[in-house]
């Protein structure tokens, strides 16, 4: 951003500030200062009501590393990265690989559907999948009975063993269409001559995919990885509307732990420390996106 490039002779150098100010003030008051305040609160022991807050330095952070709840929550977030990020990217790449080459008539319709889970409220997604996973009347168990796999029926979301992968697979359902659309948009940049030349040289489909498609999609894969990872780290609405962290703490995630600790149980400092850790991880990932994009010099 070049300062002053746009000014006309004799124009007030501060003019832009008047246009920026309304947005900036709301942003500072309701986003930026709260971020700083969360950070500050993480160094205190405070219940949110009394005037007295005790400064305890890094104690909230130190405690986190021996806190079984936090460790459980963060490890569940890591499991969610597999379901939200890795599996959808593999499915997206596979679909993109299948669609390499000539255009598919009617593809616009498919794209509309594939993107649909992205626009639906996660609470609605939770309602839909609680029904799908319902142990008695849910379509998934009904389907298993239908194909003779009665012994595979589970109380999916109510089971200590299966609740986490069950909720995780909802994340896969939400994300793979997004990955696919992202990759297909990227593939339009790869010149078809590359594939033609490769075919002439005798490279088969798999080789073409490895040596042309994957390198060509490098930046899209990076973006998909990071946005879906952030989604996996931030997951809250879906947990609230499916399992509320249960059964036990088997689907507890950091977002839900922050809510439970700071809002429901008034452990402000503790919740703020978790929120700060989560924010730092997400910021680091977001900066990685920007690095990826800066390298590629791609028009947005």
């Amino acid at each position: 951003m070049k300062t002053g490039r746009h000014s006309y002779p004799g124009e007030n150098k501060w003019k832009g500030l008047f246009y920026l100010l309304p947005a900036l003030l709301i942003y500072l008051g309701f986003t930026f200062i709260p971020i700083l305040e969360t950070f500050r609160a993480s160094f205190f022991d405070w219940n949110g009501f009394t005037e007295a807050r005790t400064f305890i330095g890094f104690k909230n952070y130190i405690n986190l590393f021996s806190d079984p709840l936090f460790l459980k929550a963060i490890s569940n977030n890591l499991v969610f990265i597999i379901f939200y990020s890795i599996i959808p990217i593999l499915i997206g790449l596979m679909l993109a690989a299948i669609l390499t080459g000539q255009p598919i008539p009617g593809f616009g319709f498919f794209r509309t559907v594939f993107f649909l889970p992205q626009v639906i409220s996660m609470v609605v997604v939770g309602v839909i999948w609680r029904w799908m996973f319902n142990p008695v009347s849910g379509p998934i168990n009904q389907f298993l009975s239908l194909i003779g796999l009665d012994h595979w029926r589970q109380a999916w979301l109510g089971s200590f063993e299966y609740a986490l992968p069950a909720v995780g697979s909802i994340g896969t359902w939400v994300q793979y269409g997004f990955c696919m659309v992202l990759f297909l948009a990227g593939m339009q940049r790869i010149p078809t001559e590359y594939y033609e030349a490769a075919s002439l040289d005798g490279a088969n489909g798999i080789k073409q995919f490895r040596h042309i498609t994957i390198p060509g999609l490098k930046s899209e894969i990076g973006v998909a990885m990071i946005t879906t990872m952030i989604a996996a780290l931030r997951v809250f609405d879906l947990i609230y509307s499916t399992t509320r962290g249960g059964p036990g703490d088997s689907t507890l995630v950091t977002g839900f732990l922050i809510y439970r600790a700071a809002i429901l149980n008034n452990r402000i400092g503790y919740g703020a420390a978790i929120a700060t850790v989560l924010t730092i991880i997400i910021l680091a990932l977001s900066l990685l996106i920007r690095r990826f994009m800066a390298e590629e010099k791609e028009p947005a």
């Binding site: 920026l20 309304p22 942003y27 986003t31 309602v127 930046s219 973006v223 509307s241 809510y259 700060t276």
Partner: protein
């Protein structure tokens, strides 16, 4: 069958399978909204035998979705209009106007786009509580504007930076001041960028859950997603009613998405790429 179709058919089959996986659960929920619970259990994905809106009527009145809908419309309208207006001004400031400290202010605004709501929710909750502003529209609207203008400023500044320089110069020579240049010359050109911003902020606000969950205690102030979540807790066995509620929550965003698809996908991908 032509050779072309022989090559296309396997691709279509794979596409259709993955499309059905996305579509079937949504389709099933839509169909359930028109059935009774026993019908849902016996044949979840078939078309309803009779077209009755009874479930919707029940959800709308007994389930109080009429109130949640009204709240969502008020909050979303206020957030979208203010955010888009403020973002146009601030984006213009970054993209076109002389301003001190641009290099500092830009990353400052960018931060808000990258942090999760969890980073701000605890102090916001305490402050709104102390000010007695919980259970008000303001508590839902102001923080949402704060986050929205962060993305909006980045989005609009990209447009204004790339706006044709000659046009702006010509307008200035013709005697337009900066305010007039913005609204008379550039604003009409900004329609695609603005449309994308409107649909994205609409979707984010309509679907926002954590903020509304934390700020609102009374049933009368709940927005649709929070209303649905509590409804689910209360009528856990009444699936047909819940399906109708879920459809009421999802329908507006799906409709807007289908109508403005081009803008939506560009914004989502562009937003991700802009980071």
């Amino acid at each position: 069958m032509s050779i072309r179709w022989k090559r296309l058919l396997p691709r279509y089959l794979v596409l259709i399978v993955f499309m059905l996986i996305v579509l079937l659960p949504i389709w099933g929920m839509l169909m359930s909204a028109f059935k009774t619970d026993t019908q849902i259990a016996s044949s979840p994905f078939t078309l309803p035998e009779t077209l009755t809106l009874e479930n919707f009527k029940q959800a709308w009145t007994v389930g109080k979705f009429n109130i949640f809908f009204k709240n969502s419309v008020i909050v979303t309208t206020a957030v979208v209009i203010s955010s888009v207006f403020l973002s146009t001004l601030s984006g213009y400031a970054f993209g076109q106007l002389p301003m001190p400290g641009k290099n500092l202010l830009f990353p400052l605004m960018l931060l808000g786009y990258m942090v999760p709501f969890e980073a701000v929710i605890i102090p916001l909750y305490n402050w709104m509580d102390a000010l007695g502003l919980r259970n008000t529209y303001l508590a839902l609207i102001l923080p949402q504007i704060g986050l929205s203008v962060s993305f909006g400023t980045l989005w609009m500044s990209t447009f204004f930076e790339n706006a044709p320089r000659e046009l702006v110069d010509a307008a200035t020579i013709d005697g337009c001041n900066r305010w007039q240049t913005l609204w008379l010359i550039l604003w009409p050109l900004a329609q695609p960028a603005t449309t994308t911003l409107i649909v994205l902020i609409f979707m984010w606000t309509w679907n926002e859950f954590l903020l509304a969950l934390v700020m609102v205690q009374t049933e009368a102030m709940r927005t649709l997603p929070v209303g649905l979540a509590f409804f689910q807790g209360k009528y856990t066995s009444n699936l047909s009613l819940m399906a109708a509620g879920a459809i009421i929550v999802a329908l507006p965003t799906v409709l807007i998405y289908v109508i403005f698809q081009r803008f939506f996908i560009r914004g989502m991908l562009g937003g991700a790429i802009k980071g």
